[in-house]
Amino acid sequence: MKKLNKNDYIKMYSYMLKIRRFEERAAQLYGMGHIGGFCHLYIGQEAVVVGVLMTIDKNDSVVTTYRDHGHMIARGLDPKRIMAELTGREDGYSAGKGGSMHMFSKENNFYGGHGIVGAQVPIGTGIAFTHKYNKEKNICRTYIGDGAMNNGQVFEAFNLAALWKLPVLYIIENNKYGMGTSVDRAAAGSDLYKRGEAFGIPGEKVNGMNVFKVIEAADKAGKYVRDGNGPYIIEVQTYRYRGHSMSDPAKYRTKEELENYKDTDPIEIVKTEILKKNFASEKEIEKINKDTLEEIKSAAEFAIKSNYPKDNELYTDVYI
């Protein structure tokens, strides 16, 4: 693995912070009625996607769940247009037709944003199939929530990926709860990374609150997959600070549990490292904080000012 330099540290910190600020702002806009429907926040899980981002080739493909805002930001997509999708406006990534759960950017190889638990897993496997079919060296990163790990199609996809040696990296974001049901109450045998064993898919468990651990695991797994060895599973242990969606009061867990995780906040870990290594001063960090806040604030303003889709858009994009 290449050694991380100063720029990498700043990049990680900036992206994680941007995701955090974006999600906080989205929560605010939701509360104000600008965002409707289901809205699933990524707060607490930032180290997962940003850690993987550090190992990615821009021609690699990504597909994820409905908890996708952070994934899009990490993919380098414009927070303005992401927020505009959340507010259902014409400047949104899906022109206001997808919403929070269904966002895509084909030019950035970002294939959603899927609203059905588990459905993205065979789809990501099929995208990986295409990379192999076209003899490209790229891989598809397929994110899976812990809840989906009890869904049959996930195992069908594992079987196909292993059978056909497809270049797919499965990343299980285990945030401990599938909606209100803890992993222990939903999964028999709670080591989710072992669920590829029967298909001969190697797997490992990673501390997802620490971005450096994620990078290490994603780099190793990514190389394995890219070298044509078939799929690989990493289970990233993470935690969402908020409820499942905006309407979830999260009464199924204790305050203490939440506070414990906050003590190992993934953004703070990076910040501490940056200061320790003298990659930036407190003042420079402060500037990143302020710029990020401003960027997200203006994204929110943009998203509120953007026009609603024109009425005739109701009937477009059904067929091509």
């Binding site: 899906s94 895509f104 084909k106 294939y111 459905a119 065979p122 789809i123 099929g126 069908e156």
Partner: protein
Amino acid sequence: MTTEILMPALSPTMTEGNLSKWLIKKGDQVKAGDLIAEIETDKATMEVEAVDEGVVIDLLFKEGDVNIPVNKPIAIIGNPDEKIEEKNEKPLEKSGENKKTEKVIEKKFEIEKNDILQEKPKQNEQDKNLSSEEITMRQALRDTMAEEMRKDKKIFILGEEVAEYQGAYKVTQDLLQEFGKDRVLDTPISEHGFTGLAVGAAFKGLRPILEFMTFNFSMQAIDQIINSAAKTLYMSGGQINCPIVFRGPNGAAAQVAAQHSQDFSSWYSQVPGLKVLAPSTPYNAKGLLRSAITDPNPVIFLENEILYGLKGQVNNDINFSIPIGKANIEKEGKDLTIVTYSIMLQKSKEAAKRLKDQFNLDVEIIDLQTLRPLDFETVINSVKKTNRLITVEESWPFGSVGSEIANVVQRDAFDYLDSPIIKVNSADVPMPYSSSLEKLYLPQVDDIIEAAKKVTYIK
């Protein structure tokens, strides 16, 4: 005492077979379980075992004989000592019960053949590029896939038994040999998984043709078909299309009962984002499948197992296609309109013939070809001419394609109707197994005639 060995039915839809090889000869002693012949069916070549014992007295067909009807005696075995005596007595000794059974079976074939397999498609009469030889529907489908795969390397085929087995219904015969295992892929029995995989591949730019061994199994994958394939173009604001063909046999075969005999035409036709096609002849199977494969949207292509053996002339131009969304006026008429699709076209044509003979009714038959987007214009124009409408389809009655046609026609051509619209559908029950009940379940020519009499007020 002699025993006849009959041509066996080796698949649910087999009506006749070819004798590829005798594994016994006259005078041989045969025991139960001995292999006696190789029979080529519509799907495969299979060995047949003896169930009775004795000496082979006579072989009634020779190797290479083709189209031998199921249940026709192909050999006689018996006790050699009684051979001459038996032969002198009567060639085919049978109890009354046996004769009756055979008659019923013969009649069944007669009906099927008259209704379905002997009807020549009419659509192609005006086509100047018609092939001189007739080919089966399965061959027409196969050829079209092969032609398109030669043109576009992004096309690949996946499904259960499509490669090494050559297709459960032999629709993908020889494709593995021509295109190799990277483009013709056998999948595990894993519809949900491999459908999602194919949808992902289509999102990423490939053009999968996915064969469901039958559409009954597409229910295992219906979330990926509807929530992923059909909706993603819309949900992505037009960024991600899904050029995929889901194809395979739909509807009833023969006595495969409730879980293997469902018609999905109205299920899929209800979904915006999908196109739904249902060919009825080798000719339109070629034209429609080419349109499906080259279309940038997800297409549900509903074939019919009983029609796989239907022969007809085709257009062999490798660019010949029939546009999606265009119905075919199969037969022009002035007294009443029958709107139908898929296998019911053949039954409708038989009904039209009898309505002409018995009641001098001149029936117009519209073969929809595409169920979504449906060619309402052609239907409405026909109703404006004939003023009477029957829809004939194999699906269940509730919320069927015919239901929507009835709705649109009453809305847009109310003043042209001289009688209520009548729908002919399958019975509103799960498909039974028994052949007698199966016949009752499916729309028959008589049902169409009854409906025609009603809309024309003939007592």
